[in-house]
């Protein structure tokens, strides 16, 4: 399970022509979101490793795997909601009359 394809977009965003005109703070909301995305990706990979260890019988306790899975699921859900909101705002702006 890899979501690196989205993270790769961030390199293209840096050469955004609008950002050269206005001085922006280094950590804007969008790059913060991308950071969150990569940390979520790391956690998903960790959970995948945990589940694999569980299947191989190398886990010390079941509850830690289940808690880790639930935590990852909810963090994914949270990010999905943020993504939906961003997309909503974008579409709302595209519908705007000029």
């Amino acid at each position: 399970m890899s979501i690196e394809a989205i993270a790769a977009l961030s390199s293209g965003m840096a050469a955004d022509p609008i950002s050269t005109a206005v001085v922006r703070p280094e950590s804007n909301a969008f790059s913060g979101m991308l950071d969150q995305l990569s940390s979520l990706n790391a956690q998903m990979q960790k959970t995948e490793g945990d589940v694999q260890a569980l299947a191989l019988g190398k886990t010390e306790n079941l509850h830690q795997v289940m808690i880790s899975m639930e935590q990852t699921r909810m963090q994914f859900d949270l990010l999905l909601q943020v993504r939906n909101k961003v997309l909503d705002a974008y579409q709302e702006m595209m519908r705007m009359q000029v």
Binding site: H63, I67, M74, D77, V82, K85
Partner: protein, 148 residues
Amino acid sequence: MDLFGVFDISSAGMSVEQSRLATAASNLANARTTKTADGTLYQPLSVVVRSSNVPTGTYADVEATMRAGTLPRPYVSSITEVPTAPRLVYDPGHPDADAKGFVSMPGVDTLSTMMDLISVSRGYEANLRAFDITRHLIQKTIDMGRNR
């Protein structure tokens, strides 16, 4: 500490209950063990649970500990043998019988071990419930952002 940090606390609680369960199971399973590997009698085991730093002082102090995500988590500090008088059973034919024909059995109190098991079960369920409520609250909070 956000709501996700509560998971770690519940997890620590479950780990402790798991150790208590393993100890109780070991005591029950060894109730008829006459000799351990080193030749001594099996002694009932007991779990010693300690907790990391317990926040004291004003409400602000406790809140600061909460924010730092260092709320006290229980952990098993040691599993100790409880010296118990052996239960003597008359069985002259037994290889471990003494000169008078008595065999020393571990002083495992089955009844109190069963009570321990019930308490483990309830304790684990309580931690599960805390986990469940945390999960429910996080889910509800995320649902706040769902479309109308």
